[in-house]
Symmetry: C2
Subunit: 391 residues, 2 copies
């Protein structure tokens, strides 16, 4: 194998796939990146796989001699990242059982011990596939609005994922809504994206009226990264079977095992009627929370006091023996005055993800679920359970 | 006490003095910042002290009512740093044994429990002082060129400091050189600054022919920070006695205990004659070292191979079973070819501190001390002991 590539192409692709390299590799070859070069297409591909999530990219390079090898991801990455922008030659001499790669540039060279490409497992393939194409905007909105609410505790299994499901509203077979949901059992974020937008080709989703899958949030965070520099009009091809889901964007591919098991029926947790409602400036509320958070470091508790008469929301935190904090901001309030408390971290997470300048808070009593949603635009619902106020 | 100040004045002064707040405060009041407001001068001062190092700043503010209090440094800092740029009122109600401060702005307020200012110890004062004034440039050159080489191991006592001493070259009583030196016993950095510069007033140093003190590097790192935004023509007033050294720059004051004990006679370690010499581009050598460092992660060993014929320096690292790295760069070499090895971290530290585009390396044999120095400009000497090459 012998290829010549720009430092930036090597670096960008390597840093992208490296995200799928596990911190503890078992078998050892998974600590490596698979590099495959094809002479006919003049393309180089890189693949990494942690046993559940795999990332593969391919890019144009001068392939003088095709071939493949796997190289230690971290070392290879460290070397390439430190090299200046220049042409880099990567070669493996054609000898039997030679897995030493030479990385050379004008100023010098590195020799790295790799592992036979034959030992690298194949990425899981989708069998009897179901396929759809989704516009980037839908994926960005859906993930941006709910990924943060997934649980990070591995023991919570299905809650470490994001649940994707389609909904049919009309009489046709065609799905109208693609819903993204995540919850860690303390809070729930749901984004319903409209599939009946002009720029979605009807044939791409028509065959999927009833699909519902749960994908690890970890993999979807990488998907967010992969689509970050895509154009607004690009589309992601999504294919899946019972076990695996594959996302493709141009030369980039992400594969993930689905999380088996039933996802909670979250729809029934969301109240439909509310005794109170408040509209408030999102950034201003977020700034106020960041301020009082300084005094909420021990119990993470923030109290909301809604004053209908004053048209004012007061947020406050109390750290016994240390001090307390109080910030007020104007708010449009409907319903009777109330005091209600939350875990401040949950609130701040949600406020950061809500995409509009103003937001709506809907609630009933101090011990019942509260809904935060954007005012206009996206159909996003963020449910937070309040916390009992200690007096 | 009641003062009104801009958020930025409070923030900048607080973050400066906070550096002297110890992580484990004993007595507890040292976890606080002392705030003193004087009505007549319309000035507010802040003081922090870790038992060895103290920082005091003062700034203009609207002092409506003079007074003093101490407040928890971290919390106060966190609050002020998060407030937007606006006027902030800090007040303590005039009641007996009331040590609760109110920090208020237009949007709300904080109440913080403080401790009586009476409990805050006075910063050590200099008795029967010796005084000199030093231009900022001399202090910056001296500290920048040697602070990195001081030991960070507390058990190394005198080596955790920077040694400052004056030297008389001529027949007068007047000191001609102020030398800054630091060593951790593996490497030694010495900067000799010329006191006979036009902009140093003769009377300021004339009385100090023989002074030699060792100041904790920790305090001098803060001094570096304090002088960072000073003008080139500013001067630092330095006063000291047997125990304490005080640095003053305008409204900022840093006090530090001296480190007792004899500093090593480092001058005799520096060879005067060399069999070999090399001149090389500093940044290029640093880049090459950063590259090969990837393969030197285990033993920190880098090998220099000097080739007089080729006019080339090759730096290389070898990580057994993993790979190796080699980078070459042009160098002006005098003397016979040689291979010599170093701790790569020590080299990189020194190269970052050397201030010129090209540097000189002077050496004798592979097991004798090597000197790195800037080519022109500052009189700086960086001595590194080589490491035995394992073959």
């Amino acid at each position: 194998m012998k290829i010549v590539s720009s430092q930036s192409d090597l670096k960008n692709n390597l840093s992208l796939v490296s995200r799928a390299v596990p911190s503890r590799a078992e078998p050892a070859v998974l600590a490596n990146v698979l590099i495959e070069a094809t002479e006919t297409s003049q393309k180089v591909s890189m693949t990494a796989f942690d046993g559940s999530m795999g990332i593969k990219t391919s890019f144009n390079a001068e392939v003088i001699e095709g071939g493949s090898i796997t190289l230690p991801a971290k070392l290879f990455n460290d070397i390439v990242a430190r090299l200046p922008e220049m042409e880099i030659t990567l070669s493996v001499a054609e000898e039997e059982n030679n897995f030493i790669a030479t990385i050379s540039s004008t100023s010098g060279e590195f020799r790295l011990a790799g592992i036979d490409a034959e030992e690298f497992p194949e990425l899981p393939q989708v069998k009897g596939e179901q396929v759809m194409e989704l516009p980037i905007a839908i994926v960005n909105e859906g993930l941006g609005g709910c990924l943060f609410a997934a649980s990070t505790e591995l023991s919570k299994q299905v809650l470490t994922g994001v649940h994707l499901k389609t909904k049919v509203l009309g009489e046709s077979d065609r799905a109208d809504i693609l819903e993204f949901a995540a919850t860690d059992s303390h809070r729930l974020a749901v984004v319903a994206t409209d599939l009946n937008q002009e720029d979605i080709e009807s044939e791409s989703v028509v065959s999927l009226p009833d699909f519902a899958v749960t994908i690890p949030a970890k993999a979807l965070r990488e998907l967010e990264r992969i689509v970050a520099d895509a154009g607004e009009s690009d589309r992601i091809k999504v294919s899946f079977d019972e076990v695996v889901m594959v996302f493709e964007l141009g030369d980039r591919l992400l594969t993930s095992a689905k999380i088996p098991g039933d996802y909670p029926a979250y729809g029934q947790l969301i109240p439909q009627n509310f005794a109170r409602e408040m509209i408030v400036d999102r950034k201003r509320l977020l700034s106020s929370l960041e301020l009082v958070a300084v005094l909420a470091q021990k119990n993470n508790l923030v109290k909301f006091s809604l004053s209908n008469d004053l048209g004012e929301l007061t947020v406050s935190a109390d750290a016994q023996d240390v001090g307390n904090a109080k910030q007020s901001l104007p708010a449009e309030i409907m319903g009777e005055d109330i005091e209600i408390a939350f875990n401040i971290k949950y609130l701040m997470d949600g406020l950061k993800a809500l995409p509009t300048a103003e937001i709506k808070m809907q609630l009933n009593e101090w011990n019942q679920p509260v809904i935060f949603s954007p005012l206009g635009g996206l159909d996003m619902t963020y449910l937070v359970m309040p916390v009992q106020i200690r007096n």
